[in-house]
């Protein structure tokens, strides 16, 4: 992969009047990476993207593309191309005219443009559809035309603002792979925005998790999933069970937590917080549903949880057991279906166990809304 053009955000603040949309963002995006911003709706993702593409001036801080400060450089002069949340295909231009708009601007002849359009149409698997209007295409096809239009401008950085959100589930999953393939083929930096953690995890080299204008954690997908650094990241990415409590004792990279409901439990301190937590701190412990397993009768120790079963459901590949949890939240256990027999536990108290390295402790903080 060629070393593409990197993007840096340095101490970036963006305000709308008194409202702070982005607070002190520091992000380093390596050239040629597929980088995602992941966060709930309204957290400031689009705002960051608009600052990178030049539609918004930062209130403070800098945006650097390929190491150059972009201050005072308009969107039409930046080496970026943006794929809009609603695609923004030009409704009155044919598909091929849409795709080669950036060439038209530079004064390319219709012949050249036609040729380039045909190449790009082949690439996005829409050969021979150049003479249609965008309104005559399906949603997925429009999506691909938008990508082709952006790529035609030969940007160093491609910015994508939730481009798949308008598609149905099947198409969305298909387009994920396709996008990733395209990115690997053209080798330029992709900055991708989504509130769908599945998209972020499957496609990205790196993910920034955002919450209300603040970037909580930047890391690759595995790290974010397994080793979240904040309560928000832990609860927003994937499903997670939370145990609230207070740190009783620190033992190297592990900690004993005095939980509110489930007694004292042992867990691993998340990497980012190692050495920063001390006994007596409010803390939260997270265990993924798939990391919990049924324990035998009478099991005991600091990695054993027991609770009353509210209800159960069968999902095909897993059995889900929902139990009374902490702070009004249900405790969920997913047991892989490998053909074993399965008893109904509703109303009973059951005991669960987990491996200590699968339980993560972070400082107490705000959880993501469901």
């Amino acid at each position: 992969m060629s070393a593409g053009v990197g993007v840096d955000l340095e101490n970036l603040w963006i305000r709308f009047g008194d409202f702070v949309a982005v607070r002190d963002a520091n992000v380093h995006i390596k050239g040629g990476d597929f980088f995602s911003f992941l966060g709930p709706s309204g957290c400031g993702k689009t705002t960051i993207l608009r600052a990178v593409s030049g539609f918004l001036d930062p209130s403070e801080g800098r945006v650097l593309i390929g190491g150059n400060d972009m201050k005072g450089i308009g969107p039409n002069k930046r080496p970026t191309a943006l794929i809009f949340q609603n695609l923004a295909l030009f409704p009155l231009m044919k598909v091929w005219e849409n795709i080669t708009f950036s060439m038209e601007i530079k004064g390319a002849s219709a012949r050249e443009r036609r040729k380039r359009a045909d190449e790009l149409l082949d690439m996005i698997a829409l050969p021979g559809q150049g003479d249609k209007l965008p309104s005559e295409l399906s949603g997925g096809q429009r999506q691909r035309v938008a990508i082709a239009r952006a790529l035609c401008a030969e940007p160093d950085v491609l910015l994508l603002d939730e481009p798949l959100s308008a598609l149905d589930l099947k198409l969305r999953q298909h387009m994920r792979t396709e996008l990733r393939e395209i990115q690997q083929r053209v080798g330029i930096t992709f900055i991708y925005i989504t509130h769908d953690q599945g998209e972020a995890l499957t496609m990205s080299d790196s993910i920034a998790v955002m919450k209300a204008g603040v970037i909580d954690q930047i890391a690759d997908g595995k790290t974010i999933y397994n080793d979240p650094s904040t309560a928000f990241a832990a609860s927003f990415v994937g499903e997670n069970n939370v145990f609230r409590g207070r740190i009783k004792q620190i033992m190297g990279n592990e900690a004993l937590i005095e939980t509110n409901r489930s007694g004292t439990l042992l867990a691993r301190i998340s990497t980012a917080n190692q050495g920063r937590m001390k006994a007596g701190d409010e803390a939260m412990m997270f265990i993924r549903p798939e990391a919990l397993a049924l324990a035998g009768e009478g099991a005991a120790g600091s990695n054993i949880v027991s609770a009353r079963v509210n209800h159960e459901e069968f999902e095909g590949n897993v059995f889900n057991i929902f139990m009374e949890g902490d702070g009004g939240k249900e405790l969920k256990v997913s047991i892989p279906n490998v053909g074993q027999s399965f008893d109904d536990h509703t109303g009973q108290n059951i005991t669960l166990q987990y491996a200590t390295e699968n339980a993560v402790v972070v400082p107490a903080g705000e959880l993501a809304a469901e």
Binding site: S53, N76, A81, A88, L89, F101, S102, R149
Partner: protein, 429 residues
């Protein structure tokens, strides 16, 4: 059920009366263009004639007025569409706190009486002119300039309303996408926003031209050395009317109907094509074998358009060969006899009345004066302007005979060389 049909019938009667009120005057006026008396009237019908068209096309002032109207219209279209578009764009992005005030300001000219706009334009630019120390013949006191400026003041508001309606459906992201792909702001405007706005701009331009063409109230204060058609018409109508004006009106009516039908037909056709495309299968679309409906099929407006066109050609053809001379001569003879009789009777009556008045020795009622100024139109009536006939029927002086050489008024329009400068007769100056 009975009740329903009763409402039905009353609705239709109402509609009939309404449209009679609306269209009747135009139809009657058009008809008077073809009747030979030199005062526009439909009854009594004397002779079918086309001479009024010829009279119209020889009227220098009318022709000059049309030319001025076109000049003013062109200027007004350009200026008011530009200002209307800028105003509409501004409305979509102005600071929210200013929006209401701003909207009130740009919509106000629609409500300000045209007379007031005319006066304020005149006064304001006169003052600017003086402040700059320019003379009375400077550009700023030029009638064309003032008229365009004055008309644009309120026509721009109409344009703004038309444009803002379409602009509200515009996605700003389109402009941003264009910028993002490297276009300058001007390019984004020209290649993305402008094509989107084109239909609305076209409507606004047509609207602006029509509004400018027919404007009287504002123009009457600003026209200076450049009387527009409307001004000329108003002068003529105020100081004596002839069927030549009816002829002009008829031409405008026909053009209007023509334009309206053409517009309607093209809209209808677009709809039909769109429908056909929708119904077509994918293969049909891709193979390009889609059969589009013919121009006339199930398009009543197009049929009407063709009918009107044929009728126009037929009438023009008739006009070229038709000669009303015979008929006119007969009617003239008959009229002369009648008028002679009537004049004698009138004389007798007046004699009688004069005697009565002399007896009374009281105030002489002004309307008893035997001059031409005895009709309701008298306030602005200028007998000197008229050749023979007056707008009053009571004063039935003999109508002026049309010059003999003029056998086909309308034909003259088509081959001017044919015409031996025949004055349409009865028309003014």
């Amino acid at each position: 059920m009975k009740n329903l049909s009763f409402t039905r019938i009353s609705i239709w009667i109402y509609l009939a009366v309404f449209f009679a009120y609306l269209l009747g005057p135009l139809i009657i006026m058009s008809a008077t263009a073809f009747n030979s008396p030199s005062f526009p009237r439909m009854t009594p019908w004397e002779c079918l004639t086309f001479e009024w068209f010829s009279a119209l096309f020889q009227d220098e002032r009318i022709l000059n007025g049309i030319w001025n109207s076109i000049l003013v219209g062109a200027g007004t279209v350009v200026l008011s569409v530009a200002m209307g578009l800028a105003g509409a764009l501004m409305l979509t992005q102005i600071w929210p706190k200013l929006r209401a005030t701003y909207y009130t300001i740009i919509i106000a000219p629609i409500l300000i009486p045209g007379v007031v706009i005319g006066i304020s334009t005149l006064v304001f630019w006169d003052r600017i002119n003086r402040m700059l120390g320019l003379g009375a013949d400077s550009f700023l006191s030029n009638g064309l300039f003032l008229t365009v400026i004055g008309q644009s003041t309120f026509i721009a508001s109409y344009c703004m309303l038309v444009l803002v309606a379409r602009l509200q459906r515009y996605d700003v992201a389109l402009t941003e996408a264009a910028l993002d792909l490297g276009a300058t702001h001007a390019q984004a405007f020209r290649k993305v926003l402008l094509p989107f706005m084109r239909p609305a701009i076209a409507s606004a331009a047509v609207l602006a031209f029509l509004a400018s063409f027919e404007n009287y109230n504002t123009t009457t204060f600003t026209f200076g050395e450049y009387p527009t058609l409307t001004i000329e018409l108003a002068q003529k109508v105020r100081y004596g009317i002839t069927p030549a004006i009816s002829a002009l009106a008829f031409i405008i009516v026909v053009l209007t109907v023509f334009a309206a039908l053409a517009n309607e037909a093209s809209i209808r056709r677009k709809e039909l094509v769109a429908m056909a495309r929708k119904k077509a299968t994918v293969e049909e679309l891709e193979s390009g074998k889609l059969r589009l409906p013919g121009f006339l099929s199930s398009n009543s407006a197009a049929v009407a358009l063709v009918v009107v066109a044929c009728a126009t050609v037929a009438v023009a053809g008739t006009a070229a060969v038709y000669s009303p001379q015979q008929c006119i001569a007969e009617v003239q003879e008959q009229k002369r006899l009648e008028t002679e009789q009537r004049i004698q009777e009138l004389r007798r009556q007046r004699e009688l009345r004069r005697q009565e008045q002399q007896q009374q020795q009281g105030e002489t009622a002004p309307q008893a004066q035997p001059s031409g100024n005895n009709s309701g139109f008298g306030g602005v009536f200028n007998p000197g302007n008229l050749s023979g006939d007056s707008s009053s029927g009571e004063d039935a002086s003999p109508t002026e005979e049309p010059p003999a050489g003029n056998n086909s008024g309308f034909g003259g329009v088509f081959n001017p060389g044919n015409l031996s400068g025949g004055d349409g007769g009865g028309s003014d100056n």
